[in-house]
Each structure stands twice: as C-alpha cells, then as structure tokens.
C-alpha cells in the first residue's frame, strides 16, 4: 500500500474518532443545558457553574469541529487524487 492509501485509512479512523468524541461531548453539553434551562434551578451559584462548563464544552467541540473539517478536506482531496489517477491509467490503457 502506498503512503496516500495509508493516509486515507488513517484519516478514516481519525475522522471516526473525532466524530464520536464530538457526539458524546454534545450529549454532556445537552444534559447540562437542560439542567440550566430547567425551572428547578433557581440559585445563581449552580447556574454560574453550569454556564462555565457549557462554554468549556462548546469551545472544545468547536475546536474539534475545525480539525474535523480540515481533515475531511484533506481526505476528500486524497480520494479525488487517487480517483483521477485511476481514470488516467484507464484512459492510457485504452
């Protein structure tokens, strides 16, 4: 297997991992947001703690999303590159 193909396999696994982390962090984010928005929470101390953690998770997921998008662009580029090489080889063989 050449380097590009190895990189495609590695990128596939990496993208899956990033996607899984983002999804799971979103579950925590959602749970804490539900607590924050529930009418049950009336005290400022709990609200302030929840808000800080919610911002923290959002910052983490935003950063992961940027990395995910950049890696996906590289992945697509590599796939395009391999496909065009295949097409060129096929044209030349005819």
């Amino acid at each position: 297997m050449n380097d590009k193909r190895l990189l495609i396999v590695a990128l596939t696994l990496y993208l899956l991992e990033l996607s899984k982390i983002m999804n799971d962090l979103n579950q925590h984010h959602l749970k804490l947001k539900n607590y924050l928005n529930s009418k049950e929470i009336k005290d400022e101390a709990t609200k302030e703690l929840l808000e800080e953690v919610i911002i923290f998770i959002k910052t983490e997921t935003d950063s992961l999303e940027k990395t995910y998008k950049a890696s996906k662009t590289i992945y697509k580029g590599l796939i395009r590159n391999i496909n065009s090489k295949k097409q060129n080889l096929s044209k030349n063989s005819h």
Binding site: M1, L6, V9, L13, I21, H28, E40, L49
Partner: protein, 182 residues
C-alpha cells in the same frame, strides 16, 4: 491536643498540624490523613490546598476541630463562598435549589479545571466516593442538612475521558497504527 487514633483508636492522631481528608459520602463518612501515601495526590497533583478548611467532627462522642479537605462525594467544598469565584462551597450547596445538580455542576467544573491531570488520578478521586468506614464520624457543620444524593460516577468519568481523547487524538497516531498493523 487530640488523642484519638482513627485507625486503632489508641494512638494520637487528630493533631493541629495535620491536614485531614473527610470523605463525606453520606450515609458513609470517613476520615483519613490527607498527606499520606494514598491521598497525597490530592494535594500535590490536584493542588487541593485551597480547599483546606476547619471542620468540627464528632468521633466517639467527642468533638474535635480539624483542618481538612472535605470531599462531598468527591467534590471538594470549602465552608463559605469566596465572592467573585465559583469555588464549590457548603454555603452554595445548602442554598442550592437542587443539591444533586449543584454537585454535578461542581464536579464537571472540577474535572474541567483538572483536565491536565492523568486519568488514573481522576479515577482515584472518583473512587473516594465509594469509600466507606464501619465506624463513621460526624461533621457538625453538615449535620441534618439532608445531603444524601446518588451521583453517577461513570458519567463523570466518561466526560473526563472524552476531554482527554479530544486533547490527544492526532492523525500521526492513527497513521503509525495503520503501518504497525500491516
């Protein structure tokens, strides 16, 4: 000077110059020494010095004032609120509209602030929530406050794990792994 041994109840233990650890996991309440081999990571690894406060404990029908880190199901609490900070404290816990959610918010906040610490140490901290003692002590400041909750520790560990995975995931590792498996 105090003269009770928390381990064999004979030797001198509750000393003014010692820092103790109170694992307040009601209905179980356990006291230990904070800077012994098992618990030292709380001070050196986590910097829990800022959570040391004076607590009144009752042991064998006797009251003692001890300098201690009080962990409420793993969440360190100081007695009073420090204005302008979010440091978890007993005052806010008592005044919270839902003690369970205050605890959860506090634990997430704590784990977020400890996100550079090794996972095994976090596991050790969360394991302290399961610590039980057959001869419980009482903490006077927390008496009769109805503080029993049933925290989901695996959920907290999952959150911490995710933060670690987010920080360490990198393409080079996956590339090396693919090569290794060829």
């Amino acid at each position: 000077m105090f003269s009770i041994d928390i381990f064999n109840r004979k030797k001198l233990v509750f000393k003014d110059n010692k820092i103790y650890l109170i694992c307040y996991n009601p209905p179980s309440i356990y006291i230990d020494i904070a800077d012994n081999l098992l618990n030292k990571f709380l001070l050196t690894g986590f910097g829990f010095y800022r959570f040391i406060d004076e607590w009144t404990i009752e042991d064998n029908d006797q009251e003692y004032k001890v300098k201690a880190i009080l962990l409420y199901y793993g969440l360190p609490l100081i007695k009073h609120k420090i204005p302008g900070t979010k440091i978890p404290n007993l005052e806010d816990l008592k005044n919270s509209s839902n003690k369970y959610i205050y605890y959860i918010a506090g634990m997430y906040w704590l784990l977020m602030n400890l996100s550079n610490v090794d996972l095994p140490k976090i596991k050790k901290l969360l394991n302290l929530t399961k610590k039980v003692n057959d001869k419980p002590i009482k903490v006077k400041e927390l008496e009769g406050k109805d503080l029993i909750i049933y925290p989901n520790i695996s959920d907290l560990l999952d959150f911490y794990n995710l933060i670690q995975r987010a920080r360490t995931a990198n393409i080079q590792n996956y590339y090396n792994e693919v090569i290794r498996q060829l």
